[in-house]
Symmetry: C2
Subunit: 209 residues, 2 copies
DNA sequence: AGTGATGGGTAGTGTTACTATCCGATAGTG
DNA sequence: CACTATCGGATAGTAACACTACCCATCACT
């Protein structure tokens, strides 16, 4: 298979409902199209690179496949899937939640209380608090500005498709893979920024230990 | 315990070497200081919010505790830990790697080949390719600009400490928790951007279904 | 002296993402 | 037309991981 998954794994995905059944030509023969291959590659990307669980991927893809579901719901499901991927069931402190709310207000964002990003960002703040580190408003504003830039790019990208299925798929991929894309680029930018701040020590020298 | 972990869990962390042993006053009594409580909270943040594995957290904290290790090594270890958290052992396509390299060059970043961000970003690009979506240079440049802003904020934050232990810890937290912080904020910014682009449909409405 | 907690170690548990095997039916081959 | 290799589908097993429950010897406290 040229999909990065073994036959057994593909069967497993079918059982979990991530993959629609092929057109059955007879009780034991089914026809799998190029669309199925595409879907398997998408699943692998969501799981391996995006870090989604099989269950979460199933929920998201279910929305994508549901022609009656508005794309906003697809979007919301993808956002929730990413929130559940990390954070599990931890509850952030009220103070951090409030600070994120203030940050959003300062940035001029109208945000629903149900947005899973609030919990995720607040939990990150709690992590800083865990080592008694105080994060400055400047730091948070920097991150908020970066997030606004990325979100703008996300929206522009969606304009490249206009069919419902294409938009839904791209929405999912953009939401899920935008995080690792940014994370990777931040590593690169950090190396550059670090070598400028502390000349002589490459930020990402290989660890030889 | 006010650390978010049960006694049994703390014992487990000790066995795994994430937590130094307390000062033993007798064969079955040990003294645990506030420093230990702090450490446990840090571990919880790295695992729950940062998504690190126990093993990865152990490697990173080992570097932090090693007074002889230069902070650049702490940094590199933290970066690798995040890379391993997602992506597992997948190999990106050469084309994507090359495109990320070009993007870094265009941004003026001097980047080592060993930087784990390359693989992570390239894998994300491969995910877009999986659904035959083409990502524009404008999109990538937007993300690169956002990454540069965030990395700059990261560096500024480090200036708030000057002792080696403090810098190392903050470096780890910043590297590990910066990802979910940004991810959460991006969700918020997406909701705003989406509601502006498609008025009437809130991007993150609760899913009732 | 007695009781209950503590540190330390071993073994077990629940979850997740596969993976190996089995089965009946059928497609292709000679 | 027989025969074997392969396929779809289902069941059960596996490996990794993050705990968690239990046991035991020792010790603090009353």
């Amino acid at each position: 298979m040229a999909t990065g998954a073994s036959v057994a794994t593909v069967k497993y995905y079918r059982r979990e409902g991530l993959l629609p059944a092929g057109v059955k030509t007879s009780p034991n023969q089914a026809q799998y199209s190029a669309e199925h291959v595409r879907r398997v590659r998408l699943i692998r990307a969501l799981l391996e690179t995006g870090g989604l669980s099989v269950a979460a991927a199933g929920r998201v893809l279910g929305r994508v496949d549901d022609e009656g579901a508005p794309v906003e719901h697809v979007f919301a499901e993808a956002q929730h899937a990413m929130g559940d991927a990390s954070a599990s069931n931890a509850v952030p402190s009220a103070g951090s939640v409030e600070r994120i709310g203030e940050l959003a207000a300062r940035a001029g964002w109208a945000v629903s209380d149900a947005n899973p990003g609030i919990v995720q960002a607040a939990l990150a703040l709690d992590g800083f608090a865990a080592i008694d580190a105080t994060v400055s408003d400047a730091y948070l504003s920097g991150y908020a500005a970066a997030a606004a830039v990325a979100a703008g790019a996300d929206m522009d990208l969606l304009d490249s498709r206009d069919d419902r299925a294409g938009v839904a798929e791209l929405m999912v991929v953009g939401t899920v893979l935008g995080d690792p894309l940014f994370a990777g680029l931040r590593r690169l930018a950090q190396e550059q920024a670090s070598s400028r701040a502390r000349p002589g020590g490459a930020g990402s020298r290989a660890v030889d230990a």
